[in-house]
Each structure stands twice: as structure tokens, then as C-alpha cells.
Symmetry: C2
Subunit: 402 residues, 2 copies
């Protein structure tokens, strides 16, 4: 089972995709992306936990409840269609209906997503021209273009695929993700679209999907801000023409493992492309009393501006890591804590260790910094991913709308 | 009742203070500050809620429980004596005992505080020379120097005083505070020392002190990091020679009002001097269902890097404010929310208002930005203070220890 970092959402059979520019972004960059499944596709989705959910998220929840097999997803970038009131929801509905007519697919078979600035009405005049135009464009190798079309402050597209032997054939999973800011691990995810050409039993699909989202997209942080538009969708259209993947089988385990590898890769790519990021931080919290303690501590450390600026300066200022663990509200007992950075012990049973700070600072200059925090209170563990905090994050975000 | 922004902890009678350089800071800046009460002083203190509390905080909690009247507080800057294990606590005890001998005051009458880098043992050789040296220096107008001695990344000292008529005379309250980073409103405070020459009944002292800390130091944020060393101490030594301030009297109300004005001023000065800050943000959350909802929303907005970078860019990007309110976990109902920036309505009952964005951006260029968030769900309110997030914050914190 080998990940292909050049794979994408149309690597699995029976999917096509396209990219278009309809003028939503003032920059003139592509702002519409369309993913089509040639046959009705089983699907599942998770959305933001933010109480201020965008119109397409509200609309998506309705569609998920309706349970109609999915045929198409249209994503616009440059405008989040969030906090746009009743008009925003009407605009999401109109866009989906227009897409269904343009693609000649059944009513209820289209999903829409939006990402970009909050609080500005969707420019429906542009959408009304753009949807019929993009409807004729999808091609079988369009998945990489689709991944480009959903970008905002991302510096590069993030997509991959993975194939699994099944019943004498191969099933393929593909996917892409976007998101560089407003990334915080209490979300569903930013935008991520996952595809699969297997015939996956709904029970396998739902359970594997939710577990994989929890261990990937819900374990990353760029800036601690949970977006209004987070959406992750998985489609399985059965186009591989192989027997179904049923609950309790080895095939179901293989499917979940492939999905785990794919979502782990894509979520890490989001962090690697975090706004202004120069390095990725892997935080292993071990020795926790329970899963909640591990998670609270990991979230506090990964969201601490002081930890993240220290990482940026390649400063092994471990006191800030322990400080963040301390204010996590998780009952950390300082005297039982072991801490290492890049495998160099800096704290042993709560007592500072002697280490070569300049050498450790040099060792932190790579693409990834590993922090291991052993709470010494139990056996639960978790792994989170975050990035450093640089001056570029400030300049990217200080004048986003003006 | 008028605040004197040039007043300080020795403005009240019966207090003296001094500043000394003993070599803890490599920069050669002053690093020892001593506050002395000429007579035994009633006192109260609140400390950090961080589970990783510094040695002087652990020691201070013991002293507060002992209840011995206070005569002196020694503060060292440049070293936090935090995460220094059993040795750290022994060092705090030794420092206090040395101070008591040097000043010839009773055992148990000295408090010590530390601020600076975490995880480095206190350089006791320097402390052992410094304490006897500073013990001979305190003078009655030394309060402003004391305020300088407790600084770390602060760019200026923060001190003030206020006088209140009482029983035909005047009682004076003085105080100072430090803190520019690792400031988050779930703390006791950073370091703040408050003095008063009134004879304040313990019940009045304790109740007024805790209420004032809650509405001032616990309502500010610079970076969302709660320090290991937060400490706020109030001393009342009775040196004014006036009748006591008793519970349930107008004098008690006047004392609390003066203390509220003083702590509000000092806490705001901390935010104004926040690391890299160029402007102060006042956030009024009104129309909340209850006090907890108001607080959760205010904390989320004040700690959002995206809100704080937008303020830095004078970008009226109100969507980020609403987004933060949404992920606060406080049950915000978007459709009932009104939002204004500098008194310009940007959102009315959940619907974006038409406003002149360039004009509003210009209006945000002053020393203070006012955000008013009406949740439209009830009548509870709270006010929080934070600052903007600038590239300078990153550079200050990227290489603090290296």
C-alpha cells in the first residue's frame, strides 16, 4: 500500500473534474472547481463545529440528511458565503440547482462548498455564468486542477492517491485538501474531498471515514481559529466494478488503512503549507492518564504562540512547552514529566536536563521538529501536527480584506 | 478620586523601595527590586492558575496560608525560577530567609517573586551577594525604580497611585505591574504589587481585592499564554494613622472603587505595552445569555490570531470576529448578533451592514480600537482588553533564550 503524492481526486475510476475562472477572485486566479462522479456515489461528510456555520455547510448538512447519492461537488474560492443570512442559503440552493440542470443529474445530487472572505454576498451574476461554463469541462485527469481551484492563501495544491488490492483487482482512493489559515483542530477539517472507486458498504464508509478524520484533520493546527466553512467529503462510486467491501472483513480493514494513510498525508500537507510556516512540528503526547488529558495538553501546546514563535527561531525554549501543558486545564503533574526535542532529553522527571542548546537549535533547522512530551501519569497517547509562527503569518493576515 | 499616572507603590505612606543590579540578566539591566513596608502589613495575594507553578508561587501560597503580616517583597527579573524542581523551592526559601536576616524583620515576613526564563536554576551566588546589598537601599520615593526593576520584555514601567478621603484624612493606594508576553486572561495576573496606607479590615481587603483582580487583570490578553509565575499582591499597612476601613461602610466602597480604578489602569497598561503591540482593543460583549457566555466569547475573540492580525492591519474584517465568537463553544446564534467597530455598525441582526471600509480602516488607526459585540440573547455583559498581533511579537519571541 503505497501513497502516490501525485495522485488526486480523479485517480479513482469514474470521476472527472474541471477548473474555471468566473471572476470571484479579484486576482483573476481560478475560482471554480467541479468534481463529478459518473455514477451515483455513496458519500459521507463532516462539517465545521463552529456555531457560525457558512450557508453551504448548512445546505450540505441538509443534503447529507436527505441521503441522495452524490453526483457532483462545486467549490468556489474567494468568497466563503458565510454570515450572509437567508440570501446566502438561497444562493447555495440556487447554485446547486443550476449545477444539477447544467449537468443533467437528478435533483439533490449536487453539493456546493465555498471558501474565502466572510460576510460578502456570493456574486451570483458571476456564478450564473460560471456554472454552465464549467459543467462542460470535466475530464478524467482533472483532479489536480480541481485541487488548484479550491486554493485561497495556499501556496500549492495538496493532493494524493493510494491503491489497495481487493478481490483480485485494485481499488483506488484519491483526495485533495486546501487550507493554510483559520486551521484549528476542533474542526471537521478545512476543505477536503476524498474519492474512491470501490463499492463500500455504508457502515464501513461511515465508520472508517469518521475515525480517519479524527486522527488526521482533527489533529492539526495552524492558528487555533476554527473556520466557518470546514468541510470534508468522501465519495465511493463503485466504478472499479469489484465486489463490495463489507463490514468485518479484511477488505474493510485495508480500506480504512488506505484512507488513514491518505488523510494523514493530506492533513500534514495542510500544516506544511500553513500561512507563513517554515517548519512542521510533530507533537507526541504519551504517558497520559486518559485520551482527554492527552488531547487537552496537545491542543494547548500546538496553539501556544510562544511555543510556535520559539520553534520559528529554532529556540529549544522547552519552558514554554511545559508552561502550555500546565495551563491546559488537564491536571498535569510537573514532577512526572519527561520532555524531549528532536530526541534530545531536555526535562527528566520534572528536572531540567543538561543539553547542548546550540547543537539542539541546529538540529531543529530541518523540515520537521519532533517534540515528545511524556506526562508520566498513564498510558494514553496522541499525536498532533502544527507549524511554526512567523512574521509572514502576520503580513498575510494583517490586510486580507483591505 | 483622581488617578495619578506618576504615582507608584511607595506613594502610600510607610513604604520604601529600591532597585539593584546583581547580574542575573546578561544585558546588565537592573534585576532585583525590593519593596519594604515599615510596619507589619495586612496582605492578600492571588497566583497563577497554571498547574506548572513556579517555585516562588508555591512558596507564596504557603506564606499566604501562614498569614504572617508582610514586611518585604523581593522580586528578581531575568529568571522565573520555574520548573526548577526541589532545588527551586529551596532557593526561594533561602532567598526569603536571607532577606529577613538582612532587613532584620521577623521570620515569615518576606515574600519573593521571580520572572524571566523558565527552567534555569536561580543563580544563587549572585542572589547571595545581591540581597544584603539591596537591603540597605530602600527609600521612600523608590516605587518608580521598583517598577523598573521587575521588567522583562516590557518597554516601560507601569505604575500609578490614587488617593481617597477617609475619616478627615486621606488614604493612598499605589501600585505597579509588569508583563508584556505570556499574558492571558485565565491568570491571577502577571506580576503586580499594590500598596495602601489605610488600615483595611481583612474582610474588606480580601473581597475588594479579588473582585478588582477579576475585573482587571483577569480580563486582559496579549497572547493567550498563561504564565507559570503570575502573582498579584496587595499590602495595606495602616501607616496613614486613620481609623480602620470596616465592612459595610461607605469607606469600604470608596476603597474598592479606588482599587478598581488603579487595577483597571495598570492592567490596561500591560496590554498597551504588549509585546509588539501598536494598538489596544477594548471588546464589549453585551446581550449575553449569562456571564459565562459573555466570557467565553470575549476570550475567544481576544485570543484569535486572525482577529489580532486584522486589527494590526487596521482591517475591519469583522467576519473573523464573528467566526471566533462562533467557535467559542458558547451557543452563539448568528442571526441575533449585532457588531460594531469604532461605533460603526458592520453587522445588524446577523446581516452584513453597508459601511465605508476605507473610512473605518482610517478610524482604527488610533491608540484604541473599540469592538462592540451584542449577542442578542440576554442582558449579561463583559469587557475585555487585548492588543494587536504584529511581526514584532514574532521577532521578540523567536529567539528569547538563544
Amino acid at each position: 500500500m503505497q501513497l502516490d503524492p501525485n495522485g488526486h481526486p480523479t485517480s479513482p475510476r469514474g470521476f472527472r473534474a474541471a477548473l474555471h475562472t468566473c471572476g470571484i477572485k479579484v486576482s483573476g486566479s481560478p475560482d471554480l472547481a467541479l468534481l463529478v462522479s459518473d455514477r451515483p456515489s455513496r458519500w459521507d461528510a463532516v462539517f465545521t463545529t463552529n456555531a457560525v456555520a457558512a450557508a453551504p455547510v448548512e445546505f450540505g448538512r441538509e443534503r447529507l440528511a436527505d441521503g441522495v447519492p452524490l453526483r457532483a461537488i462545486l467549490v468556489n474560492s474567494g468568497n466563503a458565503n458565510a454570515v450572509t443570512g437567508a440570501q446566502g442559503l438561497a444562493d447555495a440552493r440556487e447554485t446547486a440547482a443550476l449545477l444539477e440542470r447544467s449537468l443533467e443529474i437528478p435533483e439533490g445530487a449536487a453539493l456546493v462548498s465555498s471558501t474565502g472572505v466572510i460576510g460578502v454576498p456570493l456574486p451570483m451574476d458571476k456564478i450564473r455564468h460560471g456554472v454552465p461554463a464549467i459543467a462542460g469541462l470535466p475530464v478524467t485527469d482533472g483532479g489536480a486542477a480541481f485541487a488548484r481551484g479550491i486554493m485561497t492563501t495556499d501556496t500549492r495544491p495538496k493532493h494524493a492517491s493510494i491503491s489497495v488490492p481487493h478481490a483480485g483487482g485494485m481499488v483506488t482512493l484519491g483526495g485533495c485538501a486546501k487550507g493554510a489559515g483559520m486551521i484549528h483542530p476542533r474542526m471537521a477539517t478545512m476543505l477536503s474531498y476524498l474519492t474512491c472507486d470501490a463499492d463500500v458498504h455504508p457502515e464501513v464508509l461511515g465508520a472508517a471515514f469518521r475515525r480517519c478524520v479524527e486522527s488526521s484533520y482533527n489533529r492539526i493546527s495552524v492558528d487555533g481559529d476554527t473556520s466557518t466553512n470546514d468541510t470534508c467529503v468522501l465519495l465511493a462510486n463503485g466504478a472499479a466494478g469489484l465486489p463490495p467491501i463489507l463490514p468485518g472483513t479484511t477488505a474493510a480493514d485495508d480500506f480504512e488503512q488506505a484512507l488513514r494513510i491518505l488523510t494523514a498525508h493530506l492533513s500534514r500537507e495542510i500544516v506544511r503549507d500553513g500561512e507563513g510556516a517554515t517548519t512542521v512540528v510533530r507533537l507526541d503526547v504519551v504517558g497520559a492518564r486518559d485520551a482527554l488529558q492527552a488531547e487537552l495538553v496537545a491542543r494547548a501546546v500546538c496553539n501556544s504562540p510562544l511555543v510556535k514563535t520559539a520553534i520559528h527561531g529554532r529556540d529549544p525554549n522547552w519552558g514554554r512547552i511545559l508552561c502550555a501543558a500546565g495551563y491546559a486545564g488537564a491536571g498535569v503533574t510537573p514532577r512526572s514529566v519527561d520532555l524531549s526535542i528532536q530526541d534530545v532529553p531536555v526535562l527528566v522527571r520534572g528536572t531540567p536536563a543538561v543539553f547542548d542548546a546550540p547543537a539542539l537549535s541546529r538540529a531543529m533547522r530541518g523540515e520537521e521538529v519532533l517534540i515528545r512530551l511524556d506526562l508520566g501519569q498513564g498510558t494514553d497517547t496522541t499525536t498532533f501536527w502544527t507549524c511554526d509562527f512567523s512574521a509572514e503569518y502576520i503580513s498575510i493576515n494583517a490586510d486580507y480584506t483591505t
